[in-house]
């Protein structure tokens, strides 16, 4: 029935069959087509789930219609002189990365997971180890186009590196899990690929490595990545500290010497570029190893207590996949846990002023726990009000907070 209505609006070629749960799937080719689908959904009261490649969040939300970005693909513009690229949301992140490499350009972002689409990375706001040196996803975006829940096409931001015209809607959209609209294309700020890329590893006791990492930061360095990695995540017997330095050759050489000096007694060993690249890639891919992935935002000085809390509530055997950006205090965990456990843990962390974001999980967990939660004060009222403005008919099936 819904499939027929969509087919008559857009032509049968945009219907790409059914998902395995029987939900009809539409894959619009243009922003306008996307707008037509969503305004129809808003009028008819359909609930829509948006999906990219399905490699991050499971495509199991109980929707009337699945909207796939698989036909919204292509790197539409790369300007090496201006260091700006525009890309459509369904484009695989890897394709974007390779296409930028042809121009010796780079987005300093290594999102967790594998085979993800650009839209998924932006909608979930997931940054990887490089957040230490280059900031998170929000810092790489110059503008984006999205379609609101009722079909309005909105162009936020632009293609220039500084822009304060109007409110920063692009920042609001990045990392809001698609609750405010379907992202159709994104303009990224680029950098030229740094010439040198050096990774160093130390192995040992968790807290000793945190101390070594703090000593590196205390020397005034801000490494590209400074990641503390659990034995499971690093495929090792002990915890690993992985330090990545990127920049000009003299700068990286100098940083390497300083880091090795100040990290003592921890011993930093240099890795070959090829094995290091493989390591970082595998580390990112590992973030989908468990059923659920969480991100915690601690203060860098409170990492030990946050990790103790994590071990106590979710990782009793201390053998889970955990990575920690020591520079930013951001902790990522993947494993299996019940919604009750996650909620309890979130409550405990909230008391320590540590927010927890549910980055990915099956629908039964997402819907119960919510991507966010433990809002403080009036934030929930503001978020709901914004949501009402962007998606008045509640078309977009996104559990921002618990029980939605």
């Amino acid at each position: 029935m819904i499939a027929r209505q969509i087919g008559s609006l857009l032509g049968d070629h945009t219907l790409v069959g059914e998902d395995s749960d029987g939900t009809p799937r539409v894959a619009p080719r243009t922003d306008d087509a996307c707008s037509i689908v969503l305004s129809k959904a808003a009028k008819e009261g359909w609930r829509v789930r948006v999906q990219g490649t399905g490699s991050w969040n499971t495509t199991d939300a109980p929707a009337d219609l699945a909207l796939s970005t698989s036909n919204l693909t292509g790197v539409t513009e790369v300007s090496p002189a201006d260091l700006v690229a525009s890309v459509r949301a369904g484009t695989p992140w890897e394709e974007l990365r390779l296409s930028l490499l042809d121009h010796e350009a780079w987005i300093p972002l290594d999102p967790p997971g594998a085979a993800r689409s650009v839209g998924s990375v932006v909608a979930t706001g997931t940054a990887g180890p490089l957040r230490s040196g280059f900031g998170t996803l929000r810092d790489q975006i110059l503008g984006l186009t999205f379609v609101t829940g009722d079909g309005r096409i909105i162009r936020a931001g632009g293609k220039v590196v500084k822009n304060v015209a109007g409110y920063d809607i692009a920042k609001l959209l990045a990392g809001s899990f698609g609750a405010f609209g379907v992202i159709t294309s994104v303009n990224f700020r680029l950098r030229t690929v740094p010439r040198a890329d050096q990774t160093l590893f130390a192995a040992g006791d968790r807290d000793a490595l945190i101390r070594a990492a703090r000593a590196i930061l205390g020397s005034g360095e801000t490494p590209a990545a400074l990641e503390l990695i659990s034995p499971r995540a690093g495929g090792a017997d002990e915890w690993t500290l992985a330090l990545r330095l990127r920049g000009s050759e003299p700068a990286v050489a100098a940083q390497t010497t300083v880091a090795a000096d100040v990290a003592a007694p921890a011993i930093l060993r240099r890795a070959e570029l090829k094995s290091a690249s493989g390591f970082w890639k595998q580390l990112c891919a590992g973030a989908t190893g468990g059923e659920t992935t969480l991100r915690m935002g601690a203060l860098p000085s409170a990492l030990e207590s946050t990790l103790d809390l994590l071990a106590h509530h979710l990782d009793e055997k201390c053998d889970d996949w955990i990575t920690v950006s020591v520079t930013t205090g951001s902790v990522r965990w993947t494993g299996n846990a019940t919604p009750d456990h996650i909620r309890l843990f979130r409550g405990m962390c909230a008391q320590q002023e540590v927010p927890i974001i549910l980055e990915r999980a099956p629908w039964r967990i997402r819907s119960e726990v919510g991507h966010f939660g433990a809002y403080r004060g009036r934030v929930d009222t503001i978020v709901e009000s914004i949501r009402g403005a962007f998606d008045p008919a509640q078309v977009l099936l996104v559990p921002l907070s618990a029980g939605q």
């Binding site: 300007s79 002189a81 201006d82 260091l83 010796e104 706001g125 929000r138 309005r152 909105i154 162009r155 293609k159 220039v160 590196v161 500084k162 822009n163 304060v164 015209a165 109007g166 409110y167 920063d168 809607i169 920042k171 609001l172 990045a174 809001s176 950098r191 030229t192 740094p194 010439r195 005034g220 360095e221 050759e249 700068a251 100098a254 300083v258 991100r295 935002g297 601690a298 203060l299 860098p300 000085s301 930013t328 205090g329 951001s330 540590v354 927010p355 974001i357 966010f372 809002y375 403080r376 004060g377 009036r378 934030v379 503001i382 009000s385 914004i386 403005a389 962007f390 921002l400 907070s401």
Partner: protein, 475 residues
Amino acid sequence: MTVPTAAIQALRDVVGEQWVKSTSVELETFATDGLPTHNSRPGAVVIPGSRDEVVSVLRLLDHFDVPFVARGAGTGLSGGALAGSDAVMVVLTRLNRILEIDPVNRRAVVEPGVVNTKLSEVTDHVGLSYAPDPSSQTVCTIGGNVAENAGGPHCLKYGVTSNHILEVEVALPNGDLVTLGSPGGESWGPDLVGLFVGSEGMFGIATQITVRLTPTPAIARTLLADFSSLRTAGEAVTQVISAGILPAALEMMDQNSVAVVEESIYSAGYPTDAAAVLIVELDGMDKDSVESEAAQAEAILRRAGARAVKSATDPTQRARLWQGRKKTFGALGRIAPDLVVQDAVVPRSALPDILERIAEIAAEFDLPVCNVFHAGDGNLHPNLSFSRSEPGVLHRVKEAATAIMHACIDAGGTITGEHGVGADKIHLMPLVFDAETISLMRELRRAFDPAEQANPGKVLPLHVCRDAAEADASQ
């Protein structure tokens, strides 16, 4: 419309007699910001001394249904912190305490009235600084920087205000307090900090701000390159950036700016016969790597056509090279009594063309223009000098500024990179955003401020909004 006397009296009861200004002489001080083309006297001015007083003031104004405009040091350049006679200006300069310095986590907690450079002065001994450095940084406040998403020369490498704000406590227009973000910078929900920064005082008043601190570079080298044409200087900018060098700052001054500075007490030794000079600063923690990048940058500048490249490492020499750039606006006072500092952004590669176009526009409107700006970001500041006593000149200035904005938009740019829309550019918003987007921005604002009492009449041209259009149609 005026502010009711009862409301003014109630404000006095909250903050004390001396912190409420209501006579016309007192109010005149608050009738302009850094942009001389806009002038508006507020109904009253209140200067609260604490967060609690801010909250009480907002509750009171909400009760009396009086709109308000928050203001820091009043150095804004878009007429954003101006209030009409029906509104109360809430001045935050007394909330000037640095509440916490946390070197381990590289952050600080400040009140909104803290002056930008004061924070770096206090954190300097722990090797950290607050990176955003607007030209007015010795007087402007961090609260104002948050409202405008302020930039500055060193934002090329270190990012604008938005990249440095972790958490903001906001007094909403009804007086409720809400905390956005978290001390570590991770969010409790969608990125409301990112949305709040740059919202030009239309969502509420920031009462407490947690900022990120950045390790102070141990070494910096400043280059001064001079060019015989604006075009080659513009092209050199693109060549430096696309070579993979990320200077801490990359600034351009054209011949008019150089001449004005060199004739003033701020003379920095710039070559007055150059069509343009570039100031390129490289910095870092390690001397050898900074030297090596500086050498690379110098070679690129020479290849790109620089006639000469001067280099300075010691602080006195560097300060001298920077002095002219930082004091240009002061020096411009010599050539005409009034100055409009404009602000627009273009893609870097469009700089050579747009600089020529700006010169044409200035000639067309018979106004002296000089360009002194953040070339590495493509962030232009064409400055128009004039004397307001000349009949009709304000109209010509506005027309010329609008023509420049059109040219920047045509080049793929936008109407403001760091000064904000405020009152000055509200009429240009429809050039960069369609009615749907502006309407959605209005709805966003209403999520924080349903009655639209915070800084009314700024940023959003309400006549283009969807619901206004619908309301008109239904009448």
